[in-house]
């Protein structure tokens, strides 16, 4: 229902804005929701993006999650045993990254532009904040990408861009249950002949709500009380288990 309303409001918007901003608005986009709410039954989410273009071109949608420091450690064999040896820390690594494009991005953009806009897994900029050899940084980077891809937190398949007609498209963006919370941004590019002719950025917040949010906040704000309740609950559960099942 929400999505239908979203589509209707978008179409109304486009209809109203169309004649007025005909010259400027080459690209108009909106999301079916700007908040992914994680409650206790959260198993992943789907967000629909609608967009309208006023000129021909390819559409690229890039979703970036919040950034954080990430440590990568390498194990090496010494005396027959595998020990952690080198490590490197990267600053402000996007914890989530995915994109969708109407054609393979290599065909849409020249390499330099992809690098500038960080479009594609191979173009994500990772800045080391600790000293490490060039080789270590390069292989750590690859390891980090592998790990994120394995957990479905990085992907090259955000969704399929479907053109409803020549100027109206929709993309269904799927988010896994393990998405980190925080502020996401969705960048949409309209690209023609290797040049970005229009771009829009839409925020998307991933937040915990309801019991899940309350528990998280409680655990962080009142750690001692949370700890006491967790221990009391465990003691109670253990005692209940004994009382109910001691006859076995």
């Amino acid at each position: 229902m929400k999505r239908v309303l979203g589509l209707i409001s978008l179409i109304v918007c486009l209809g109203l804005a169309g004649p007025v901003g005909a010259a400027g608005e080459k690209l108009v986009v909106d999301l079916s929701t700007h908040q992914i709410a994680i409650d206790s039954r959260f198993t992943g989410a789907e967000v629909i993006m609608f967009g309208a273009t006023k000129s021909a071109g390819d559409v690229v949608v890039v979703v970036r999650g919040p950034g954080d420091s990430v440590a990568v450690r390498r194990k090496e064999r010494s005396a027959g045993l595998w020990f952690n040896s080198d490590s490197v820390e990267f600053a402000d690594v996007p914890l989530y990254y995915t994109y969708a494009a109407s054609r393979p991005v290599e065909e849409i953009f020249p390499e330099a532009l992809r690098r500038e806009r960080q479009i594609g897994l191979d173009q994500i900029v990772l800045v080391p904040k600790t000293d490490a050899s060039g080789d270590m940084i390069q292989s750590s980077r690859e390891a980090l990408l592998r790990e994120r891809v394995r957990h479905a937190l990085y992907s090259e398949q955000a969704g399929v861009i479907t053109f409803i007609d020549a100027n109206l498209f929709r993309v269904s963006l799927a988010f896994p249950a393990s998405i980190p919370t925080g502020d996401y941004r969705v960048d949409v590019f309209l690209v023609d002949q290797g040049r970005i002719i229009a771009e829009r950025t839409t925020p998307l917040a991933v937040t915990k709500i309801g019991v899940a949010a309350q528990l998280f906040d409680f655990a962080h704000r009142q750690a001692a009380a949370y700890a006491a309740i967790a221990i009391a609950a465990a003691l109670l559960a253990g005692w209940l288990g004994y009382v109910v099942f001691r006859k076995v």
Binding site: K75, G238, G241
Partner: protein
């Protein structure tokens, strides 16, 4: 039936968690171990962050050990006097453990030292216990049987002897206090309750009857796990109460069945089984250290908490 876990920040199937808890709780009741050293790797395997797996594990151990403890208490298998001495040693050991922990972490080799400690202790204990209990089992088949309550060794030459009525022992208070001290220290460094170290040590060094050891050890584990659960929740907010309670739901039931089976098994059989489990965990750790890892790189997101 997937449930979102607010601290672990992912969804897991509630039935799988109940089943896992049940299996670990069964072992807890059977052997008097908390099960933390089994549950933590299982949770990491399911995708839970290591810190959350350790923190939540301590909460689960509170539930499973209290359930097992009450069952053993009802069967009068807890020596509270012995437990008090072990705990007083354990508190001092935990204090030293915190210091050792920060020392190792600064040196950057915490994981390796912990893994090597595990292997040395588990391997030695498992091998000794396996050989001893198997040879006893084999001897039992023969008619010759000189029954003694326990064997006399160097331990009985130590001072500060006390009478432990429940354990039917008259031994020095020094060995249990030292065992408690080392268990407390290792428990803090390795992030586990330490039952798998305490149980064999009490059987073989102090000479306590196997049945009493299990109940008594659970009492010690309960105290240690309450303290470390509190520490984890305070220091790093890594105790996921939803996850812990789902696991506990299975564990407390499993612990009842475990303690029932425990009281029916012959103590030699119980020790053979415990030896096998200890050796299996040891073997897995050895493989991890010796075998070529699937991916030599490990990734950790820092500073989210």
């Amino acid at each position: 039936m997937d449930v979102y876990l607010p601290i672990a920040e992912l969804s897991l199937n509630a039935l799988i968690l109940l089943g896992l808890g049940g299996a670990v709780g069964f072992l807890s009741g059977l052997f008097g171990v908390g099960g933390g050293f089994l549950m933590t790797p299982l949770l990491i395997f399911l995708g839970v962050a290591p810190a959350v797996a350790v923190g939540t594990g301590t909460n689960l151990v509170v539930a499973s050990s209290v359930s097992g403890l009450m069952a053993h208490w009802r069967r009068r298998n807890v020596d509270f006097k012995m437990a008090t001495i072990i705990l007083s040693g354990g508190v001092m050991g935990a204090g030293l453990g915190i210091w050792v922990f920060s020392l190792l972490r600064r040196a950057g080799q915490l994981d390796e030292v912990v893994a090597l400690l595990y292997i040395v202790f588990l391997g030695a204990i498992g091998a000794l216990m396996g050989v001893e209990s198997l040879s006893k089992l084999l001897r039992r088949r023969q008619p010759v049987s000189t029954r003694r309550a326990h064997s006399h060794n160097w331990v009985h030459g130590l001072p500060f002897k006390l009478r432990f009525r429940r354990s039917k022992l008259y031994v020095s208070a020094v060995p249990p206090a030292v065992i408690g001290f080392f268990t407390g220290m290792l428990a803090t460094v390795m992030g586990v309750g330490g039952g798998f170290l305490m149980v064999p040590a009490l059987i073989y060094i102090v000479g306590m009857p196997t049945g009493i050891v299990i109940g008594t050890s659970l009492f010690g584990i309960l105290a240690v796990s309450i303290a470390s659960c509190f520490a984890h929740a305070m220091a790093s907010q890594t105790v996921d109460i939803t996850l812990a309670l789902l696991l506990a739901g299975g564990a407390v039931i499993g612990a009842q069945y475990g303690s029932k089976v425990s009281s029916k098994l012959r103590s030699e059989h119980l020790r053979v089984l415990l030896a096998l489990m200890v050796l299996a965990v040891c073997g897995r750790l050895v493989l991890e250290l010796v075998g070529t890892p699937d991916d030599p790189f490990s990734i950790e997101v820092l500073g989210r908490r």
